[in-house]
């Protein structure tokens, strides 16, 4: 049987660019974490925390997260369908348009052109670009699937398709706005409605950009790395459908105790708790796939990344529903616990899976073995330690500040002024900044390893036919 000629050039480019944006995201993240403790590091008008923080989040979610997703999807879709990409030209357009869009986002955010909506700060011209980009990507993936030679669509493709539809719906609705000028628009919704739409978007962006795609990667790379199949196909089916059905109900758990109608808050809370089931369906599926294979945690560095990644996903999907419970939210919301939580997801879950995917791809897209496995292990430990210092210090900070905020004297007056609670945060913010620096070092080791792999790696026999 003829082997189809897959397009690996585009995957190479997307890997390279997503890593560049990932470096930008972590670098800016480290800068803003130091601005938290040393306010003199703010240089107005452009380099203040208020303007840099959205650049950090958007470079992370869209540059690194979605960039990696593009790379992985374009690779996986060809392999699972056993056909080359439907259109190489469209994929090349997607690559350059993606980079232009991310760069334009960074520049406009730096200039203060922002809608203020979290994870959707870019103003309307960038929104238009994002839509064009997503359509180009979607058409290519869907047409490749339509033209496939493999009758069965595998698990990874379900998550991929769901994420394509989900992101499209979310992004379009939340970007509805009335332009005032080229870089200023007003949301189409007002007040409480705007809040409800925003967090329906904000939370489900986590579902459709930071949960479904990494799961698609996990379900593809875990069996590929270990050489054993996924434990249960039925469990994958149940987990998948219940996940995408339930996720959309939970946006309002970001708005507990706000003026959003109570019944929406209650629904969000109930569905958040129920979401533990499909999330943990995938976690168990991953763990049980490792039956009799646990020795690979020692022998195969890829498995370490993947299993730690899915473990953080498991922790994240317990902590998230816990925070969605009204009484817990009353205590912990608005404190540093929340950035601690989200970074366990981004640094722990999404990034570890992405690192594993990239390591796995290197021999297959460059035809060279990974330059140094000891360096890959060093990278693993650095990012793990960095992320743990980050999250744990902020959890403690959040509990302490919440305790101080809610503390009352016997006569019913408050014990602490706001500033007294904030001053107590400095040691934890320092710890967080240090954790970020360690993570950045880990990323540096990763990038060094990538560059040397491309330049000096031993030729590998995994290389497959490549288009020019």
């Amino acid at each position: 049987m003829d082997k189809p000629v897959y397009n690996h050039a585009i995957v190479r480019s997307f890997v390279a660019w997503s890593v560049v944006w990932g470096l930008v995201a972590v670098l800016v993240g480290v800068i803003v974490s130091f601005q938290m403790v040393l306010p003199e590091l703010n240089f107005p008008p452009y380099l203040t925390f208020g303007r840099l923080r959205p650049i950090h989040t958007n470079a992370g979610i869209y540059g690194w997260g979605v960039g990696t997703i593009f790379a992985m999807f374009l690779y996986i879709v060809q392999r699972l369908c056993r056909v080359p990409l439907w259109s190489d030209k469209l994929a090349t357009f997607q690559l350059w348009f993606f980079n232009i869009t991310i760069a334009a986002s960074a520049v406009t955010l730096l200039l203060g052109y922002t809608t203020s909506k979290e994870y959707h700060e870019m103003e309307w011209p960038i929104d238009v670009m994002v839509v064009i980009l997503w359509v180009a990507f979607s058409i290519n993936i869907i047409m490749t699937i339509v033209k496939r030679k493999e009758e069965q669509m595998y698990i990874s493709l379900w998550y991929m398709l769901a994420s394509i539809v989900g992101v499209a719906i979310l992004y379009l609705v939340n970007s509805a706005a009335v332009p005032v000028s080229l870089f200023k628009s007003y949301s189409a919704f007002a007040g409480t409605n705007d809040a409800n739409v925003q967090w329906w978007f904000g939370h489900n962006a986590v579902a459709m950009a930071l949960t479904a795609p990494p799961l698609a990667m996990f379900y593809y790379f875990l069996p590929k790395s270990t050489g054993v199949p996924i434990y249960s196909h039925r469990l994958s089916i149940i987990s998948f459908w219940s996940l995408i059905f339930m996720y959309l109900w939970t946006g309002a758990h970001h708005l507990l105790w706000t003026p959003v109608p109570d019944w929406i808050q209650t629904l969000a809370m109930a569905f958040s708790v129920m979401l533990i089931a499909p999330s943990w369906g995938s976690v168990f599926n991953g763990y049980l796939s490792m039956n009799g294979q646990w020795h690979q945690m020692r022998e195969n560095y890829l498995v370490k990344f993947l299993i730690l990644g899915i473990t953080f996903y498991g922790l994240q999907t317990l902590q998230g529903p816990m925070q969605a419970i009204r009484s817990f939210s009353a205590f912990i919301h608005y404190t540093d616990w929340i950035p601690g939580h989200i970074h366990m997801g981004t640094l722990g879950w999404v990034s570890l899976i992405a690192f594993a995917g990239i390591y796995y791809l290197l021999p297959r897209i460059y035809g060279r073995e990974v330059y140094s496995i000891p360096l890959a292990n060093l990278h693993f430990w650095l990012v793990l330690i960095g992320q743990l210092i980050y999250s744990v210090s902020l959890w403690i900070a959040g509990v302490q500040q919440a305790g101080m905020w809610h503390s009352m004297e016997n006569d019913g007056s408050l014990t602490y002024s706001f500033m007294e609670t904030m001053i107590e945060m400095y040691p934890y913010w320092w710890a967080r900044a240090v954790g970020g620096v360690i993570y950045l070092l880990g990323l540096g080791v990763f990038i060094y390893n990538l560059i040397l792999t491309v330049r000096k790696g031993k030729p590998s026999d995994d290389a497959v036919g490549q288009t020019a």
Partner: protein, 287 residues
Amino acid sequence: MWEKKPFLFLILATAAMLVGTIITMVLPFVWVNTEADRIASVSPYTPLEQEGRDIYIREGCNNCHTQTVRPLVAEVLRYGEYSKSGEFAYDRPFLWGSKRTGPDLARIGGKYPDAWHTQHMAAPTAMIPRSNMPAYAFLGERSLDTGHTRRKMEVLGFPCTDEEIAGLQGKNELDAVVAYLQKLGSDIPWRQAAQTRVVGELTNPYLGDSSVIAEGEGLYDQHCAVCHGKDLAGDIGPDIQDLDMADAELYQILYNGLPEGGMPAFDSLGSTRVWKLVNYLKYQKRH
């Protein structure tokens, strides 16, 4: 079946996502921002306030400040009356935020005089010694860009007169931000309702106890000196070197503030520390 038909799969996946979307995101439009939500005293933003709001958005203030008070005991004590849906009917976009690196601002309007805000925005650490807020002095040096003001008001459907537009001449960006901050939460007559009613007799637990003076001085330096001066001789606030009033009366002023005089309430210090402040202030009286 659906595992082999991509278009069927796409339709099913979209349908699965739309159920929760329609119920929790689309349906609420029927109830929110309707007559039932309306609060008569809440008015749209003036051109100056709206320009200030847009600068607040531009500088990303919402990354560190929330604008919604939750109906929780400590929260209502600290910030004031909890937020209602109707207060936000004119907010496009909403600015509730999700993180309180700095305090909530939903009730900041009228809490401090303009001069306090102007100084604080220009150099936060001058007012709040260990604040980590960036300094926004540059806003005071930039004249307000009014090129799109009229169009903004049209898009938002807010009333706007030629006089108001003309009145923006000579204003800088800081003036606009302060105008916006002073608007926040001031539409609702909640302060009067929230005046702390102290139960029982107000008696100074530290009467004649000079051991708390040092702590009172520390509190004064941290919370009061920025407005009344290090030596109590006055600056933004009046001279308070010769306070001639009963302990209970002074306690009431510190604890509840004087909204019309621009004196904020310091109830968030708790009663114990307010009494210590009373002792310190009374002790400074020159006989």
